[in-house]
Amino acid sequence: MGKLDGYKKDQLLAMLRDMLIIRRFEEKAAQAYGLKKIGGFCHLYNGQEGVVVGAVAALDMKKDYLLTAYRDHGHAIATGMDPKVIMAELFGKEAGCSRGKGGSMHMFDVEKHMLGGNGIVGGQIPVATGVAFMQMYKKTGGVTLCFFGDGAIHQGAFHESANLASIWNLPVIYIVENNHFGMGTAVKRVSAVEDFDVKAKGYNMTGTTVNGMDVIEVHKAIKKVADTARKDGRPALLDIKTYRYKGHSMSDPAKYRTKEELEEFKQQDPILMLKKDLLDAEMITEKKFEELDKEAKAIAKQAEEFAEESPEPPLESRFEDIYA
């Protein structure tokens, strides 16, 4: 069976398009950060696009939910949030999804079932487990995707949540976006194991290792565990290996890794890998790819222009959105 068998061309092009938009958006965000239009922490997603795009493509966001950590711009785009609103939030503007109160780490869209964007390592894991609790409680048939980094898996929050999800049959899928570094610390320096799939055993759930540089492989892996979670309410853990091209945040020059390692991963770039698969299957031409990329660049540029032109939030609004 061919790798792309069973996939429709539109579906594959949509994944390619989403990855391109995320890549070009992040490049634009980095530029704007350099111009001091964006401040504070800003964690870019370049290189990891295959993980969230492959995962969200396997979901039904009408009834499913997604929660993630602070490297969340890509997740916001993948769940269908408007890049303009995301960039406006980065610029701290009133038109931002959180009215300029959240910033880079706190992208939310309740209608699109994107529940953040959390700035505390592992903080979203119990919360996502609780969203899955609601899905069990109300028998919605939905699942919840809970993304976190390789640094977060050592938090008690993960271990307590995984146990709860297993004993209560909660349809939550724990996704380690394993980019090999918790900030500047290599996984192997701080973890008793390098492959996290084994941790699933302790909580009586399935654990799978996935190549996150390959969006199709991610899509297939998520589809499989999401189907099980929907049917049996069983949680799952996926260790999705990926790589971030940029530093941990904008202030990190990433001196803890070699250029050779970075280059090695760039050779398996998720966008280029899907492009190659599509070219091999004659589902795309170079010209079409260029068109999609041009479109992605235009979307990123429009987002930046929108954010730039948006008004500052009124100072009085600082007293709003605290109590319901």
């Binding site: 706190h106 959390n118 119990p126 307590e160 709860l164 319901a324």
Partner: protein, 326 residues
Amino acid sequence: MPELAMRDALRQAMDEEMSRDDSVFVLGEEVGEYNGAYKVTRGLLDKYGQPRVMDTPIAELGFTGLAVGAALVGLRPVVEWMTYNFSLLALDQVVNNAAKMRHMSGGQLKCPIVFRGPNGPAEFLSSQHSQALQSLYAHIPGLKVVAPSNPYDAKGLLKSSIRDDNPVMFLESEMTYGLTGEVPDEEYLVPIGEASVVRKGSDVTLISYSKPMLMLNKAAEELAEQGIEAEVIDLRTIRPLDEATIYESVKKTNRAVVVDESWPFASVGSHVCWLISRNCFDYLDAPVEYVCCEDVPMPYNHNMELAVQPSVEKIVQAAKGVSYAD
């Protein structure tokens, strides 16, 4: 009116709200089969079953955060912490998620959740199990903090807390679970954010909440015997604070004693003292006095632990002090 113990009034509140609204559920350690470490949730599992009543593993951070997540998507969790001392294990989920989700989402989310359990000094428990943590939670914008002192208020306030769309820290007291008081058969609510003047007086205002209210009432009786008429205020809610009721009384009596089981530094009581000093300055005939726990961890030895805490004697002394009646 029937007399009910505090624990039964609290259970009635949960029972009524659970039967009124399917989205209300209770979770915590020993809340189900064991019927609650202090028997506050007695019978709820039998009546409602799972998933309305969930026994959790001993994992405060995990189940607290789980409840926060459930609240964000439409359920109304009532989290029982076996004691507020254990809430410290869940602090990140309360402070960084429950209190801030609405803010960080620009008002898109709401977090209707109640965190309840015993808080404050008990007896013979030493320093990890006998401490008052309200000041820590009252510090956080985004949280409401409620601390009733009697069964009537406890039931009415817990019902209001469960119906509230915000995170509510609901502080009970181990020493008063058996305290009885009148609770009507018919349904009622006590609104969050309203203090109650429980005794009228003209000479000095005594202000507190939760368990020390028992001491305030006794102190007021002793003071009356000595010719000092104390007005007694039960704050009932710490955040949002009913400042108007406090100021109205102090402007009348011109003297105030604040009583709190907190430690003195940066506490609920010290904040109330500052508010009165600032907003009633022209009316005060004496500096505001503060009776609180001494600035030490709670000792196990009974004589020492009693010496650490507010007492009727300390309150009477403070009231006489601000009245220059010594």
